[in-house]
Amino acid sequence: MSRLNRLYEIAKQENRVVLNIFLTVGYPDLSASEELARIALESGAEVIELGVPFSDPMAEGMTIQESSQVAIDNGITLDDCIGLASRLRADYEQAGILLMGYVNPFIAYGLYKLGDRVRDAGIDGLVVADLPPEEAMEFQKVMRKSDAILVQFLAPTTDPNRAKIVIESGDGFIYCVSLTGVTGERDQLDPGVVDFLKETKKLTDRPLVVGFGISSAKHVISLRGNADGVVVGSAFVRVCGDTDLSVRNMQAGQLVRDLSAAAKGMDDVV
């Protein structure tokens, strides 16, 4: 069983939600990203999504757009992201490590080279925001050969017939987009998200991981029982940007601990 599947299996048995934390690699700089990723993993994140910066991220809200631009200005490349993954892997054998990005930087790098590096670095999978199943064959093939997954998305706009096709064309967890919109913090969860997860659950046994707009422990609590995992991105990236390093690190740790407590069902903290 793959590392990610095992992770979701155990979480299910223990009746908790797996916490995924997203950060933009290179924001505010590369060594900060490493420090913040380690803080997240030490504070209860079980999966870390390393955001590969892209100049034109069409699915991102302002927070991740701006962090990506800073990272690009810092000269961050895909090799930097893979290097970070590899260093994290050396110290966190059990953690899920994913690369998240957009098609163009991956194909500019070369898919076969990417497959080799993903295997060498111990990366568990690739999340590509602008790669629907219709265009995913080559990526899929390369990731399978590297014992990694190409994560698939379902959105609130995906109808059941299409959902079946998406589900049958891949493996590993499914990334459920909680809302029709771009990434970014929200006060409220989309009211339709629980029904969306319940309907999707009827179609598949694969773990369902919810992302987009998940910003607080309160959101995580209301997803318990319906989601196998949650992704928190913009809320964490915002904290990463604090210019006072000790405040930044403290806030990052606190945010992840709160989210993790909610994910584990320790509701008294909220």
């Binding site: 100049s55 034109d56 069409m58 790098y109 265009e135």
Partner: protein, 402 residues
């Protein structure tokens, strides 16, 4: 691949050979699949065809004239130059063709709200015009830099009742306007029709926009046969995303004796970093949902394009153009900012026509080509839009004092 087969593209997944496709977030995939299905159905609907035909004739003013430019021909001193006068279409550019087609499509699909991106503002004006006429809500995304250099068109859109949203991210030009329009679309996809203005972007847009622009080439063919009893030797058009060019080219794809020449913007020169010559200097990549040539760095970050003309200032190009070039059916050259300015003045002085800076790129190359041809040869330049919107830029560049 035979040239006949090139006219059958794209396939069901939006591929022109290995180019095109639909690289989009899942949230939008059901929308583009629905649009593809609805379009394939609606385009055969007699009612739709009749309404569009009537509007093209009585509202947009089609067919547009094909004008023999005797002064320009004399200046070139070689082949005959004809101008396809898309600048005389309602709103002043070819963009009205696809805006009318897609506006009707949006209405028949029951979408009450329309969004669009615009570079030079011509597509924005055309979209605002059609929305006003059809009673649709309209928001136009426009790069902040373009808002400044195409002010006249911003005013026109506002008078027409559209909301103009300046985009202040990235290079603040067309590329960023498209990003922001896509983000709006992801958010409001259930109620909103994205009325894309070029043959770039994800399938089915390169097909839909081309089909609505084909009328340009169909008219050129008929008008040429009527005027000279023959097809032209070459058709020349400017290429940003490439909608006016594909419209002018498409009907001639099978006629291999007709040279099809696309003119990209060389900006400050293709050896500089400030240009928009995507086919000449780009590499294969994925931008805005399509696999095509893209101006980018070694790491796959999209480069900032540059052209004096906002409408050509785009680091991608329509996938069908990439395929036509790869198949050897169309040729692509580039013309600099200075050459475009020169052509704008030349056309103004020889013919009394002020072209858009975009179209001036095509005029420059048409003159250059004609000067190498014999008197019996005929080149058609697509005069895709008029130059009123560019007067601010031109006055500044030429240091004119009034």
């Amino acid at each position: 691949m035979k040239t006949k087969d090139l006219k059958e593209l794209p396939d069901g997944y939006g591929n022109f050979g290995v180019w095109g496709g639909m690289y989009l977030p899942e949230t939008l995939m059901p929308a583009v699949r629905e649009l593809d299905e609805s379009y394939r159905y609606i385009r055969r609907d007699p009612e739709f065809k009749k309404r569009l035909g009537d509007l093209l004739t009585h509202y947009a003013g089609r067919p547009t004239p094909l004008y023999f430019a005797s002064g320009l021909t004399e200046h070139a001193g070689g082949g005959q130059i004809y101008l396809k006068r898309e600048d005389l279409a309602h709103t002043g550019a070819h963009k009205i063709n696809a805006a009318l087609g897609q506006g009707l499509l949006a209405q028949m699909m029951g979408k009450p709200r329309v969004i669009a991106e615009t570079g030079a503002g011509q597509h924005g004006v055309a979209t605002a015009t059609v929305c006003s006429m059809l009673g649709l809500e309209c928001a136009i995304y426009m790069g902040d830099l373009d808002v400044q250099r195409q002010q006249l068109n911003v005013f026109r859109m506002k008078v027409l009742g559209a909301e103009v949203v300046p985009v202040k991210t990235g290079s603040k030009t067309l590329k960023d306007a498209i990003n922001e329009a896509i983000r709006d679309w992801v958010t409001n996809v259930r109620t909103t029709y994205y009325l894309l203005g070029s043959v770039a972007g994800p399938h089915p847009y390169p097909m839909i926009v081309r089909d609505f622009q084909r009328v340009i080439g169909e008219e050129i063919r008929l008008q040429m046969i009527e005027r000279i009893g023959n097809l032209p030797d070459a058709v020349v058009a400017c290429v940003g995303g490439g909608s006016n060019a594909i419209g002018a080219f498409f009907d001639f794809i099978q006629d291999e004796e007709v040279r099809l020449i696309g003119v990209e913007a060389a900006g400050c020169g293709v050896t500089s970093t400030r240009h928009a010559a995507t086919l000449e200097k780009g590499k294969p990549g994925v931008l805005h949902g399509a696999r095509t040539y893209v101006l980018q760095d070694d790491y796959g970050q999209i480069a900032e394009a540059h052209s004096i003309s906002a409408g050509l200032d785009y680091p991608g190009v329509g996938p069908e153009h990439t395929n036509l070039r790869e198949m050897g059916r169309a040729e692509y050259v580039s013309v600099t900012d200075d050459q475009a300015l020169e052509a704008l003045q030349l056309l103004a002085k020889t013919e009394g026509i002020i072209p858009a800076l975009e179209s001036a790129h095509a005029i420059y190359h048409a003159v250059k080509l004609a000067s190498t041809m014999s008197r019996d040869d005929v080149v058609v330049a697509n005069l895709s839009g008029r130059g009123d919107k560019d007067m601010g830029t031109v006055v500044k560049e030429l240091d004119l004092h009034i």
